[in-house]
């Protein structure tokens, strides 16, 4: 996909998402009391915002459809970006591991305590990087867990058992 078709595709997606979200918000707001312009109910502003969001989505769709082919945006061309190199294309491993890491923290914090939650969260998230081995991930997790106990449990007194049922 060349630059301009890719951008066009992105803008179509963006426009559709906005229309969808805006419509959903407006429909949901209808179930609240709308009120009058003089005395607005709780549903008035959310309703107006939903319609506005859907409207912006429609304008974006229309502008994308009417847009002629264009060159890549220029400007200051040689700007170094922080995220230019390395892997390209969808990175399911990275994304999956980061999401799984956050979920692991939530689940383990609720059922197992601070230490397991820290170990699980850091180790799983670390595996999202293609250069980390299991050994790196576990060592990093242990290091962070020690720090977490010192800073959050001992230092700041976070209300979470270290290991549920034991301490």
């Amino acid at each position: 996909m060349n630059f301009s078709t890719k951008n066009r595709f992105k803008d179509y997606c963006g426009g559709l998402i906005l229309c969808g979200l805006g419509t959903a918000a407006a429909l949901q707001a209808q179930s609240y009391h709308l009120g009058t312009l003089n005395r607005m109910g709780p549903g008035f502003v959310p309703m107006a915002l939903g319609i506005l969001l859907a409207g912006v989505g429609l304008v974006l769709l229309a502008a994308t459809a009417l847009r002629r082919e264009e060159a890549a945006p220029s400007g200051l061309p040689a700007l170094p970006g922080a995220a230019e190199e390395g892997h390209h294309g969808p990175d399911w491993r990275g994304w999956g591991c980061i999401c799984a890491g956050v979920i692991a923290f939530a689940v383990l914090a609720e059922h197992a305590g601070l230490i397991p939650a820290t170990l699980g969260c850091v180790a799983i998230t670390a595996m999202g990087d293609r250069e980390n081995t299991w050994r790196d991930a576990i060592l990093l997790a242990i290091g962070i867990a020690i720090m977490a106990v010192a800073v959050f449990w001992w230092g700041l007194g976070v209300l979470m058992p270290l290991v549920k049922g034991i301490y």
Partner: protein, 509 residues
């Protein structure tokens, strides 16, 4: 005027109290550290450390948060100059001339000049703040709901259309933020809105969850496996950091001009920090006798944008503190933090909480001095930190975010909230939407709604109230001008694609 100076003395007394001084120091140190780390800027730093401040007294809390903000800006320049790595978009222009200076063996000088320029610009910004805020407050007391609504609208529209990328997309994200601000219990009627029967949402979406989601998790999702590897660096000794007299002379006027650019842009609500540094750089290039030399290590190309970013930072606090209207996402975050502490920034802040206002101003100076003192001996440590690989950094940061979200209310629900906002922010980032306006909309949302409803009640349902009152009408006029200018430039760009592309800067991250 004398009153201001007396008040400032009171502020210094507060800022130098050992307790407050300590948290200011922690703030600038943490901000500097996080700012140096690749991939994290002020927004990430403040979002991550925000939960820590909830247990504190409001004065040290805001001193620390402000310290994180300007500390991270000092830190961001280090990566830009030494590694060509803008850890934060506003520093991208600093790379253009800062990195060539490093390659020419003058990295230390560039850092030293940056520090001097930053300190000078920050001091100037603080002085402007001291004298401009009371004036603005006096005016603000005449504001009714209609004026407040109009000025917030100005902030929102300027914030969404004058940042990088497409103005339309910026507006979309602002509206999205406003909708997120509606979630929870309606203050006037007690109606639950968009809560989907989840009791955790009755108090609205957590500020911390949105901030850490869209500026933390979303960022990691975007950068994982895509970060540049950092090679070996020449060690920078702090003897190298002292610029020669000739270099100082070369840097002086760019520094002054950069400061002025930053001050002007700071006073305009909604102009982002990135656009400010770009303009400061463009101004230098335009008036330089040797414009072709820019990009090869010109001192002016480093001093001006860094000065601009620091004076803007300070001036940005004026509307935030004296009107209660944040100019950009960082300010929205700080305002949100104050609201969590039960302090409503606005015209009454000066009389009701003089300790916060003047303590904050005095702490800016104290913090900036601390940063100067800190950065000279610590530069070696920062350089080492720059080399910490991203693959170790982001898992640790994800953990900090997760536990930070949990500690706000000791609720696991907030952790899931962070994930949802992370995915949402990442999706919109991938579709080239600017995400900072979400936060601005979210923080301003409830205030916009309240003032809009009040104004309409006062006018018995007539929209005329917004144009009949002179101050409000003027502000609406400015908004109309702003939108007209945006439309004009975008139409011109469409009609003459080639010339326009060369003439306007586009701010694609």
């Amino acid at each position: 005027m004398w009153q201001s100076i007396l008040d400032l003395g009171y502020g210094f007394g507060l800022a130098l109290e050992p307790h407050n001084l300590f948290w200011c120091f922690v703030g600038v140190l943490a901000g500097n550290l996080i700012g140096v780390l690749p991939g994290t800027g002020a927004l990430t730093a403040i979002s991550m450390l925000l939960p820590l401040t909830f247990a504190m007294h409001p004065v040290p809390a805001i001193l620390m948060l402000a310290g994180i903000f300007y500390g991270s800006q000092y830190g961001g320049a280090i990566g830009a100059i030494l590694l060509n790595l803008p850890s934060h978009p506003p520093h991208a222009v600093t790379c253009l001339d800062g990195y060539p200076m490093t390659r020419a063996g003058k990295g230390g000088t560039a850092l030293g000049l940056t520090m001097i320029a930053s300190f000078f610009a920050a001091s100037f910004g603080i002085i402007v703040m001291i004298f401009a805020s009371p004036l603005l407050v006096e005016m603000a007391f005449k504001f009714g709901p209609a004026e407040l609504f109009s000025i917030m609208l100005l902030g929102l529209i300027a914030g969404s259309t004058m940042s990088r990328g497409s103005p339309l997309k910026g507006i979309a994200m602002t509206v999205m933020g406003l909708l997120l601000g509606c979630v929870g219990t309606d203050v006037q009627t007690g109606q639950q809105r968009f809560t989907f029967d989840l009791p955790e949402l009755a108090d609205g979406v957590e500020l911390v969850s949105i901030a850490m989601g869209v500026f933390g998790i979303a960022d990691f999702l975007k950068h994982v496996n895509r970060m540049k590897h950092v090679g070996n660096l020449q060690p920078v000794k702090f003897r190298d950091m002292r610029p020669s007299l000739a270099e100082m002379r070369q840097a002086f006027w760019p520094m002054v001009r950069g400061t002025l650019v930053g001050t002007i842009f700071g006073a305009m609500p909604g102009t982002g920090p990135t656009i400010t540094t770009f303009i400061a750089y463009a101004v230098e290039q335009k008036i330089s006798k040797t414009p072709h030399k820019f990009g090869t290590g010109m001192i002016a190309g480093v001093a001006a944008p860094e000065a601009a970013s620091h004076s803007k930072t300070q001036v940005d606090f004026i509307p935030t503190m004296s009107l209660g209207i944040p100019g950009d996402a960082v300010m929205a975050l700080l305002l949100g933090a104050l609201l969590i502490h039960g302090i409503q920034p606005g015209p009454r802040l000066l009389s009701e909480h003089p300790d916060i206002f003047w303590g904050l101003i005095a702490s800016f100076w104290v913090g900036n001095v601390l940063l100067m003192v800190l950065n000279v001996p610590m530069i070696g440590v920062w350089v080492k930190l720059l080399q910490v690989p991203y693959r170790f950094l982001f898992p640790a940061a994800v953990f900090f975010i997760a536990i930070g979200a949990y500690t706000v209310n000791n609720e696991i629900f907030a952790v899931y909230e962070v994930l949802v906002f992370g995915l949402l922010g990442w999706l919109f980032m991938a579709l080239d939407f600017p995400i900072a306006p979400i936060l601005l909309g979210y923080v301003l949302g409830p205030m916009v709604e309240e003032n809009f409803r009040r104004a309409m009640l006062l006018s018995r349902g007539h929209f005329g109230i917004f144009v009949e009152r002179p101050i409000s009408a003027t502000i609406l006029g400015i908004i109309a001008l702003l939108l007209a200018a945006q439309l004009f430039f975008s139409l011109r760009a469409r009609l003459r694609p080639r010339q326009a592309a060369a003439g306007t800067l586009s701010f694609q991250e």
